[in-house]
Symmetry: C2
Subunit: 335 residues, 2 copies
């Protein structure tokens, strides 16, 4: 297996990307192509000991940043690491692609260069969603802000397949984000999506209220990209602001500082639970070939874990399974 | 000034409602009508010393519960405390109404009995939204799940007037919940609402990402009822689950329990900050007469504070100000 990695994407590129890639090549026994400025990548690689035949460099002189308009950048910056990497994927130089760069550009590039699976109407961004019971997968996390019920159905099918096969949860519980648990609740999109989902061959548990997302009520959280993005960002915002209030309290005086010291093991345990780096990335779902988005602020550890997800994504034939399910679904609709 | 209160609504009715009402009558120097089962209310009132001429009882034998379908209950349960109370409001027996009962029924009753302000397309549920900088007001918190841009504009105008005059924030910052801060971001509803809001005579600060809601980026948080309800419930859910993780950690062993004891003042300070009881309720905006919804689990303290909001709502001529602003707005559109 050979993965392709965007060496120039993310806040800590290329140093942490290269280090994470070297670690992954050794730990997961894979080959890799790092795409980016050859001299810079070479220089980083020279810092490590690794089986040198397993890592190639593919030169790309340009970089797409978060300031670029995604769709324009994909068309104009032909020599960017992202575009060169996605073309390499499309041309079969590797089995999957991972980038910590611009989310919008990765999505646009995935759609324009790699293209959608036939029968899939929209590709979705996903996000690994931390809960008190472990990790859930949020689909769509922001790619499609105006959705038809059919899209949500496809998000549910793709998410269910990914969670079962990559995140290893048997028969994952698929929940539709809604403002009440009963059937018939919600806006017109949610109501119609509910009707489609209940007839699908997935473990649809019905509507899930936002209140129950943090406790892991659903393994696959289905929402349109607008609501999904609001859920994702509010979850982050609440975690940040509660912990900042807490931190302030712990630093208030000598007594509280002493208490904080006593609580160190518990606090680092909580921090670890919430750490995105443990998962390292989340897939784009709906493209013809495996693509994983790593967090923009990824360090080497996060990149290594992101590559692990990509490896599972490739190894478990997720895309073939999605194709099969979508085709069956289309046949059922016709029949 | 005379307020009307639903004596039978909420988890702790009638005892806590009556107690809160007695406290409010004394503290805010107002008169009150308590609506509900006369014998029960009388019995509760007999426990307290208060100027007896200031509290009347209006008998109502029936109760609308959360299990009732709101719209049906309003039509069929004519003798419920909610319907009797709203009719008393409509007929001028008092200046405003407060209930801790079914939110849906209060909204339906507000619309069917009290009716909307002319020019207002939809009445909104609001919620006082706790932030690290104090309280914001979320409009709409769940009444209107499918919205037109025009509704969101009206929510913004009404929310701005309420926050300025009742919550006492000068020139409140009005933010539109969106998935990016730049103009042009979001779904079609958010884009069109943005265009309307930027031309209004309010302090519109533009789009606000959900990540920035908990830090109080906006004083008036504008969203359609679906997104607003998701925001509200996710905020509650995150607070509950983070504090439950924290509590578990604090009870883990002797050392952590000792630390928890040392942190007691800080922890109760945080708890107080997040306590809905300090505000007690949030208004329905858009009805012809003042209506406040108190939290279902209100105790006497919350009820007293809810009545305080209702008193401010009445005293500050909010509804007249809304009427004036909406009429001006309509004239500007025509002109």
């Amino acid at each position: 297996m050979k993965i392709i990695i965007d060496g120039m994407g993310g806040d800590n590129a290329p140093s942490e990307i290269v280090k994470g890639c070297v670690d992954a090549v050794i730990e997961y026994d894979i080959d890799a192509i790092i795409v980016g400025k050859e001299q810079l990548i070479k220089q980083e690689l020279s810092k490590y000991k690794y089986p040198s035949s397993r890592i190639q460099i593919l030169n790309a002189d340009d970089i797409i940043t978060n300031d670029d308009d995604p769709a324009i950048a994909i068309r104009r910056k032909k020599n960017s690491s992202l575009v060169v990497g996605l073309n390499a994927l499309k041309n079969g130089l590797g089995d999957g692609f991972i980038s910590a760069g611009s989310t919008g550009a990765l999505l646009a590039g995935g759609l324009f260069i790699v293209k959608r699976i036939p029968g899939i109407d929209r590709a979705a961004l996903t996000s690994v969603y931390p809960t008190t019971k472990g990790m859930s997968l949020l689909v769509d996390a922001g790619a499609n802000v105006d959705c038809k019920p059919e899209y949500l159905k496809q998000f549910a099918i793709m998410g269910s397949i990914y969670v079962e096969n990559v995140l290893g949860k048997k028969n994952p519980r698929v929940g539709l984000v809604n403002i009440g648990t009963e059937e018939g609740k919600g806006n017109s999109l949610a109501k119609e999506a509910y009707n489609l989902l209940k007839n699908e061959n997935i473990n649809f548990i019905g509507n899930v209220e936002a209140r129950d997302l943090p406790t892991g009520e659903a393994d696959v959280i289905v929402a349109d990209g607008f609501v999904g993005n609001v859920v994702l960002k509010l979850t982050e915002g609440m975690a940040i602001s509660i912990f900042s209030i807490l931190k302030e309290s712990l630093l208030e005086n000598t007594k509280s500082k002493f208490a904080a010291m006593l609580l160190k093991p518990q606090l680092s345990e909580i921090k670890k639970k919430m750490d995105y780096r443990e998962y390292g990335g989340a897939p784009l779902l709906g493209t013809k070939l495996p693509i994983v988005k790593a967090h923009g602020s990824s360090d080497a550890y996060a990149i290594k874990n992101g590559i692990k997800q990509l490896v599972q994504f490739i190894k478990n034939d997720i895309i073939q399974t999605i194709e099969k399910n979508i085709n069956e679904d289309l046949r059922n609709q016709e029949g």
